[in-house]
């Protein structure tokens, strides 16, 4: 392995394959709830996609299927060009920890581990040695350079979420999925987290897919999908909060 540069670029798409691709993905929850109904979707590398929609519109299921956390009933999911729908749980986990980063509303940091250990955990699990410069860069970048030895319980919500973002990036994944990343944060912390995500896309070329119900958050994305009843009903490039808000009100939720 060659020495990593201080600011490592993310692996560029060698052949231009999209980071994530969904084709005719349907997910039926027993007995007969169609959470996703024939969704087609392409997320190009280096783009920031927001997924919006009222509760029960299928946005979380879309995220779970795209990330390999859930398996579609029918259709294809390609992650960095590889079909993941047919893989078993262990193989999907292995693929996930290399190609996918996660940011959750509830942070989901491991309380027993320090910030630094939480961030490097995916690499350790994959049996890879953490690159110290890269970890250092990430933690500085998310503003936690001075808190390496702290435990999650000793951090504020915004700090925990930023640690979770650093953890999502540590394996240089093809895509970072964020599920309501600002849902549990105050306005100022939420703004910091959204700024950070935006900067990661702009500076590092990171692909980000974010589920949110907040039009202001979605307005930071390059593109916003609006979902209803398991289908993508609208796709807006360079959306504004006002337009997205109006669109959601039209769908019956503010």
């Amino acid at each position: 392995m060659t020495a990593a540069p201080a600011v490592a670029p993310l692996p560029a798409a060698p052949d231009g394959t999209p980071a994530v691709q969904l084709a005719g993905v349907t997910r039926v929850h027993p007995p007969d709830v169609r959470a996703l109904d024939g969704v087609d979707l392409v997320v190009p590398r280096g783009s920031f996609l927001a997924v919006m929609g009222p509760s029960g519109s299928g946005k979380s299921t879309l995220l779970h299927c795209a990330a390999g956390l859930d398996t579609p009933t029918s259709g294809q999911v390609l992650l960095a060009g590889r079909e993941i729908g047919r893989l078993d749980e262990t193989r999907r986990t292995e693929l996930r920890r290399v190609h996918v980063g996660f940011v959750f509303q509830a942070y989901n940091l491991l309380p027993a581990l320090s910030v630094a250990d939480n961030v490097t955990l995916p690499l350790r699990l994959a049996g890879r040695a953490p690159e110290p410069e890269w970890v250092r860069f990430l933690l500085d970048r998310v503003g936690l350079g001075g808190h390496l030895a702290r435990r999650p319980g000793e951090l504020s919500g915004g700090q925990q979420q930023r640690a979770a973002i650093a953890r999502a990036l540590v394996a240089r994944p093809a895509v970072v999925f964020a599920d309501e990343p600002t849902g549990a944060l105050d306005r100022a912390s939420a703004g910091q987290v959204l700024d950070l995500l935006r900067e990661l896309v702009d500076e590092l070329g990171q692909t980000v897919v974010m589920v949110t119900h907040d039009p202001a958050a979605a307005a930071r994305a390059d593109r916003a999908l609006v979902m209803a009843d398991g289908r993508v009903v609208d796709a807006l490039d360079s959306p504004t909060a006002a337009v997205l808000g109006a669109r959601l009100v039209a769908l019956g939720e503010g």
């Binding site: 956390l69 262990t90 509830a106 989901n108 491991l110 027993a112 250990d117 699990l125 435990r151 319980g153």
Partner: protein, 835 residues
């Protein structure tokens, strides 16, 4: 309002409350069972049996008063005045007043002695048939000194019918008697003409009165007035058994002693497990408790809520627990009877008192444990609780750690008694000291674990895999949770090692003392005849190869001493021998001698001599088994107290003070050759009812029955402890669902999660075994030094590896299964449910 909330919370967390449920259920069973034994020991009614037809019984007092304590039962029969029956016959309402006597009598059949409950008192006068419950007489009264009546079961066993000539060994003399009647019910015994019986017995045991219908109380009152001023007592109803079978009644104190010796250790274990299970349950509920605090629940209300919840669960558990307690006590009594520690005639009481006591005690334990487990959560600032509410790591408190270390230190002096008191009581301190140290470990555990695991994490090889690294990190990070698992498992190790090895060490020392004491290679037992028959000793002594013969018997003496400044009267078993005792017993005599053990003399053990401040040639005061106080000269002071007991009495001293004066067995010292042994066997064959036993002397040198008792107690308590530990581990692993899900979302494969859990289990069980052995070491070294003079206990070597194996199996099984179950749910779903 709180009740509904508590019930709702309890319903939402079934897994962790199952552990509480089981701990309380088992605990209430153990407490109730002990209570039943205690109550039975204090006041169970011995059935009046043979004399159930007598409404009122007048007898000597078969108890000895003890200052500021319960009376001690006197097992040996005390006589009543010979003319008492005549005096009482005149009382109004009395239909018959019968002077009852009892003496050794055994009926011989073609194939040996017809079995009787107590051959030493099977002979009675004919008039006692009037006192039988529902007597049926088939035949006529025996007359003169060559006729008998026998009860139906003896007649059947010996193949006798009216008119036959029965061979009966009466008071050691065999003779032929014509059978004049068969009497029912069984147990009536061998009945002789009254004048002949009185002559054989030489005393009157008691007077039984039959009364006109409904006159029992009136007659009892009148009898009480008639005997006022004497030490005679009047018994009616359930009290009669005590004076009919004084030996059985005296054995009740065994139950009190057993219940007393049980009280400490099981209560500690029950408290420990209930508190542990509640601690795990509270950890699982911290998020909810935090929310309740956030919406304005006061600390007091929160503790009440937690206590109420625990009480609800306990209320469900105590009902079957208490019922189980009665069953347990029944099984325990059966075991005691089987190993010979308790006479079969003694029943258990079945009053609701033990149940009430068990319920109250368990509710108290649960209340205290629940409130203290919620104490910290209830008192902390709301923000702290909320911040920690995801069952994250918590810092162990300093006070807790200090208290734990203090307890561990305090356990050392507590383990000292075996060095000073060489008896089972001294050894009981070993287990208590070990358990106290284990409780100290439970308190100080989290802080200690932090230290150790922190050091371990630093020293972990750089290339060790992620699961091992995570396991150590979890042990360190979740110190409270991990220490809970380690300390309960360590407690089980401490309990097994200290309890079992203390018992085996005492048993080993006792049996070695016993074996070294017995020079006699052979015992000839005459228990089936009620006593050694006349002429047997002389005939045995004449057998070529027999070097010495000493008749022996057992009785009870009451020793007055002081324990911790209080005067106590304690019954002790004592060997009765006479003649050249040194030819059959090596008592390891320190002063004096027992080669001419005659006259009113005793030999006493070294410890007793010290506590009585008496040496050879001095007089000691003691009370014989029938309550007679005597002064006896100390012929010798000996060392083998553990094997022989504290006192050996001369037959001359106790003559007239035992229910029968006959010896029960002969201690025979032979040249050890097979030929001599064969000659003895041949001789025994010509004496019906005589058994030749092997290398078994006065005191029992085979496994003492107390060992079986302790094994049974160990098994029951260990089962309870292991169940409690397994439940707590299952509950605490089940609570890790969210943690496992988070691990999986960052890329841990299910296999890796299981691997983490397994490594944790390995670390936990290793730490538990190590801690358990360390905590047991001091008490066991002390008990070894005290009893065997070596700094290690005696007992089977495999106990330690077996205990370690059980700990490992429990730790693995009770984390692997819930971990697998937790991994079945997709991680995203788990987290969706949690938020």
């Amino acid at each position: 309002m709180l009740t509904g909330l508590a019930a709702g919370m309890a319903r939402r967390r079934p897994a962790s409350l199952v552990a509480v449920l089981c701990a309380v259920l088992g605990g209430s069973a153990i407490v109730t069972g002990t209570g039943v034994l205690l109550e039975s020991g204090l006041r169970s009614d011995v059935p009046a049996g043979r004399l159930d037809g007598a409404s009122v019984i007048v007898s000597a007092d078969q108890t000895a008063p003890v200052p500021e304590d319960l009376d001690v039962g006197l097992p040996e029969r005390r006589a009543v005045p010979a003319d008492l029956a005549a005096e009482l016959a005149g009382l109004p309402g009395v239909t018959a007043a019968v002077a009852d006597v009892g003496f050794p009598a055994a009926v011989l059949g073609d194939d040996g002695v017809a079995p009787a409950d107590d051959p030493a008192t099977s002979g009675h006068g004919w008039s006692s048939t009037a006192l039988l419950p529902g007597p049926q007489v088939d035949g006529a009264a025996p007359q003169g000194d060559d006729e008998v009546a026998v009860d139906a079961s003896l007649a059947a066993a010996a193949g006798l019918d009216v008119g036959d000539v029965a061979r009966v060994v009466v008071d050691g003399r065999e003779g032929g008697y014509r059978v004049t009647a068969i009497v029912r019910p069984a147990g009536a015994g061998v009945l002789f003409d009254d004048a002949h019986a009185a002559e054989l017995a030489g005393r009157v045991d008691l007077v039984g009165l039959t009364t006109e219908p409904g006159a029992t109380e009136r007659v009892a009152e009148a009898a009480r007035d008639a005997v006022a001023g004497t030490d005679l007592v009047i018994s009616t109803g359930g009290d009669r058994g005590d004076v009919v079978l004084p030996g059985v009644a005296a054995a009740r104190s065994t139950l009190v002693v057993i219940a007393g010796s049980l009280a400490g250790v099981p209560l500690l274990l029950v408290g420990f497990l209930v508190a542990g299970a509640l601690g795990v349950a509270m950890t699982g509920q911290r998020p909810e408790l935090a929310l309740l605090r956030a919406v304005g629940t006061t600390p007091r209300q929160l503790r009440r809520l937690v206590a109420l919840q625990a009480t609800l669960v306990a209320a469900v558990a105590v009902v079957p627990g208490v019922a189980l307690g009665y069953l347990l006590a029944g099984r325990f009594r059966a075991l005691l009877v089987h190993i010979g520690l308790l006479p079969d005639e003694l029943p258990l009481t079945t009053s609701p008192l033990p149940a009430l006591g068990g319920v109250l005690l368990m509710l108290l334990v649960v209340q205290v444990a629940a409130r203290s487990s919620a104490w910290r959560t209830s008192r902390e600032p709301v923000t702290t609780v909320l911040g920690e509410s995801r069952t994250g790591p918590r810092e162990p408190s300093r006070i807790r750690t200090a208290a734990g270390l203090l307890l561990m230190a305090a356990s050392v002096p507590l383990a000292v008694p075996p060095l000073l008191v060489r008896d089972a009581l001294g050894a009981a301190a070993t287990s208590m000291a070990g358990l106290l140290a284990a409780i100290g470990l439970a308190l100080a555990g989290p802080a200690l674990l932090r230290r150790v695991s922190g050091g371990l994490a630093g020293r972990l090889p750089a290339r060790s895999g992620a699961p091992g690294w995570l396991a150590v990190a979890n042990l360190h990070g979740y110190a409270l949770r991990s220490a809970g698992a380690i300390t309960t498992l360590a407690m089980a190790v401490v309990f097994v090692l200290t309890y079992a090895y203390a018992q085996t060490t005492v048993a080993d020392a006792a049996s070695r003392d016993g074996a070294e004491t017995v020079l006699a290679g052979t015992t000839i037992d005459a228990g089936a005849l009620g006593g050694v028959p006349e002429g047997l000793a002389e005939e045995v002594a004449a057998v070529p190869g027999v070097d010495a013969v000493v008749p022996a018997a057992d009785t009870t003496v009451l020793l007055t001493g002081t324990t911790l400044g209080d005067a106590v009267v304690e019954p002790a078993g004592a060997l009765v021998v006479s003649g050249d005792v040194s030819s059959v017993l090596d008592l390891d005599v320190r002063a004096g001698g027992v080669d001419r053990f005659e006259g009113p003399v005793v030999a006493i053990g070294h410890d007793l001599a010290r506590s009585q401040d008496a040496g050879a040639g001095d007089d000691v005061a003691l009370t014989l088994g029938d309550g007679t106080p005597v002064q006896a000269r100390v012929a010798a002071v000996y060392d083998r107290e553990l094997g022989v007991g504290p006192v050996v009495l001369s037959a001359d001293l106790v003559e007239g003070h035992r229910t029968t004066d006959l010896a029960q067995r002969l201690l025979v010292r032979t040249d050890g050759s097979a030929a001599t042994q064969n000659r003895l066997a041949g001789l025994a064959a010509s004496w019906p009812g005589i058994a030749v036993l092997g290398a078994d002397g006065g005191p029992d040198s085979s496994t003492p029955p107390e060992v079986w008792l302790n094994v049974a107690v160990l098994v029951v308590l260990l089962g309870y402890v292991l169940m409690g530990i397994a439940n707590a581990l299952v509950a605490s692993t089940a609570q890790r669902r969210a943690e496992f899900a988070a691990l999986r979302l960052v890329g841990t494969t299910p296999r890796q999660v299981r691997s983490v859990v397994r490594r944790e289990a390995a670390l936990v069980s290793a730490a538990a075994v190590l801690a358990g052995v360390l905590l047991s070491a001091v008490p066991l070294v002390l008990v070894g030094l005290g009893f065997t003079g070596r700094p290690w206990p005696a007992g089977p070597w495999w106990l330690l590896p077996a205990t370690a194996a059980v700990v490992v199996v429990i730790a693995f099984a009770s984390t692997e299964v819930p971990a697998r179950l937790a991994l079945r749910t997709p991680p995203a779903e788990v987290l969706a449910r949690a938020t």
